[in-house]
C-alpha cells in the first residue's frame, strides 16, 4: 500500500525496535548507568568542520549530539549516565544517514578507554550475537591498505593515493586522509573491528597522547559490517586545549568558506570548573537496530525516515 503518509518502517519492525530499546535500557540498568535527557535545542552548535548544525532562528541550534550538555551534567556531579535521543545534522541523507537520527551516548567515570571498548562490545553482542572483534590502529589500517603513514601529513602522497583510489580532487591532506581511512574501512573483511589511535588532528574532543615518537588521539571506533557504529573517546579535560581546537576548527572552516561557529561558552565554563576523568561513546542506534533486524537502510527501522535516496 502506498501513500507518503505511511511510516517508512514496517509496523512489525517498529514493534521489534521497541523490544530492542528495552534490551538497551536493561543493559544500562544492570550496570547502574543512569538515563538522562538533555535538551535538543541549545543556544550553541559545534565548531566541528564536518558537522553542520541545523539552525532554528531565534532559538539556537538543534543538537548534533548530546555530548556538550551531558558533559555539563558530569561537571555538575552526575554519575555515569546514558541518553537515547534524536540528533540532527544538516545535509546528511542516504542509505545509512538521515538528517534526524537516534543517538545512544554514554559516559563512564573512571573507565579506561579499553574498558569502554569492552562495554561497547558487550552491548553489540547483546543485540547482534557474540562475535570476536578485531582491533587495529588507524595507522596500521591505512598502512596495510595503501602503504601510507597516516600520521605523517604528507599532502602530496595522500592526495596521489586518494586519486589512484578513485577520489580525484582532494582539497587538502585532511580530506585525502578522511577518504583513505573511509576507503580502508570499506575494504575490511572482518565483521567487527575496533579502530584505535586516530591521527592527532582527528581527535575532536578526545585526549591526545604520545605513542612512541608520534601523537595519537585516544579515540576508537567500532565498525560492524563496514558501517561506523560507535565513536568513543578518552574525554579531553583541558579547557585551554578545548579553546585551541575550536579556534583551529574555525580556521579550517574559514579556509573552506564555511560559516564560523561560536565556541560553546557553557561547555567551556563547565570544563573550566572541572570535568571528571571519563570516557564517552556515541553509538548510531538506528544503524545498530538495522543490523540486528537485518534491514538494509536507516529508514527501514525509523518510523518516518527521509524519503530521498
Amino acid at each position: 500500500m502506498s501513500g507518503a503518509w505511511r511510516p517508512t518502517a514496517a509496523i512489525e519492525t517498529l514493534i521489534q525496535r521497541a523490544t530492542l530499546l528495552e534490551r538497551v535500557r536493561s543493559f544500562f540498568r544492570e550496570r547502574d548507568v543512569i538515563e538522562v535527557q538533555t535538551a535538543t535545542l541549545d543556544m550553541f552548535g559545534v565548531t566541528d568542520v564536518a558537522i553542520e548544525n541545523i539552525a532554528v532562528p531565534g532559538y539556537g541550534f538543534l543538537q548534533s549530539s548530546p555530548e556538550y550538555q551531558m558533559k555539563r551534567l558530569l561537571a555538575a556531579g552526575m554519575p555515569s549516565c546514558y541518553q537515547i535521543g534524536p540528533v540532527f545534522r544538516a545535509g546528511e541523507v542516504g542509505r545509512w544517514h538521515d538528517t534526524e537520527f537516534t543517538m545512544l551516548e554514554w559516559y563512564r567515570l573512571g573507565f579506561s578507554l579499553e574498558a569502554l571498548m569492552a562495554e561497547v562490545g558487550g552491548l553489540v553482542d547483546l543485540l547482534l550475537g557474540h562475535r570476536v572483534a578485531e582491533t587495529i590502529t588507524v595507522g596500521d589500517l591505512v598502512n596495510d591498505a595503501f602503504g601510507l603513514d597516516i600520521h605523517q601529513m604528507n599532502e602530496g602522497a595522500f592526495m596521489q593515493v586518494a586519486a589512484a583510489e578513485g577520489y580525484a580532487d582532494s582539497r587538502d591532506a585532511h580530506e585525502a586522509a578522511d577518504f583513505l581511512i573511509e576507503r580502508a574501512i570499506s575494504q575490511l573483511d572482518a565483521s567487527r573491528v575496533f579502530l584505535t589511535e586516530y591521527p592527532a588532528d582527528q581527535a575532536a574532543l578526545a585526549k591526545i597522547a604520545k605513542r612512541g615518537n608520534r601523537e595519537v588521539a585516544l579515540r576508537f571506533e567500532l565498525i560492524v559490517g563496514g558501517l561506523e557504529i560507535a565513536n568513543g573517546y578518552d574525554e579531553l579535560l583541558d579547557v585551554a586545549e578545548f579553546r585551541r581546537r575550536c579556534a583551529s576548527d574555525n580556521a579550517r572552516r574559514a579556509s573552506q568558506n564555511l560559516a564560523q561557529k561560536p565556541i560553546d561558552r557553557n561547555l567551556e565554563a563547565a570544563m573550566a570548573a572541572g570535568l571528571p576523568e571519563c570516557c564517552g561513546v556515541a553509538v548510531g542506534l538506528d544503524r545498530l537496530f538495522a543490523l540486528a533486524l537485518d534491514k538494509r537502510a536507516l529508514r527501514e527501522v525509523s518510523a518516518f525516515g527521509s524519503q530521498e535516496q
Binding site: A50, I51, E92, Y167, A168, S170, I181, E182
Partner: protein, 190 residues
Amino acid sequence: MATYSTNEFRPGLKVLLENEPCTILESEFVKPGKGQAFTRVKFRNLISGRVWERTLRSGETMEAADVVDRELDFLYSDGELWHFMTADDNYDQVAVGEAAMGAAKDYLAEQARCQITFWNDNPIAVVPPNFVDLAVTETDPGLRGDTAQGGNKPATLETGAIVNVPLFIEIGDVLRVDTRTGEYVSRAKQ
C-alpha cells in the same frame, strides 16, 4: 550543458566522466561521523560498457551528457556499416560502425527493432531486441525424427554467430535466439 550535483545523482542519469558519456548505476552518500562527506558512485561507460567506480566530494558537480536513446529498425549491413531507419514517421537513416555495434551485429535480423544510444547525435551503442529469429546456415546433420534425444551441437546463423542447438535442428531452420545470452530458445513460429 547542464551540470548535476551529487545530491541530484540517480540511477540512469547521464553524465560526462573524463569526457566520456556514462550512466549512473548507483550512488551512495557516505560520511564518517567526524569526517568529510563523500558520494560513492558506480558508472557504466556507455561507449566501452565498462563499470567505473569513483568517489566524489559531496556537493561536487558533473556535466550532463547529451545522451538519448532512440528506437530504430535494422535495414541491412554492407559489411562495414550497419544501416537503420528511425521507427517514427521521419524515416531518417542512420549508419552505425562496428565499434558501436558491438555484440549486436551477431543478432540482427531484417526489421529488428533496436535501441540505439546517441551521444551528441552520434550512435555509440546498439541493443538488439531481446529475441530475434535467425536462419541456420551451417550445422552437422541431425537424425531425422530423433526429437527425443538430448544433447547439443553448434550451428552457425545467417549473421555468422554460433549458437548451441538441439540435435534435430537442420540447415535452413529459423531459430528464436535470446540476444542477451546468445542462447537458443526454440524454433521460430513460421
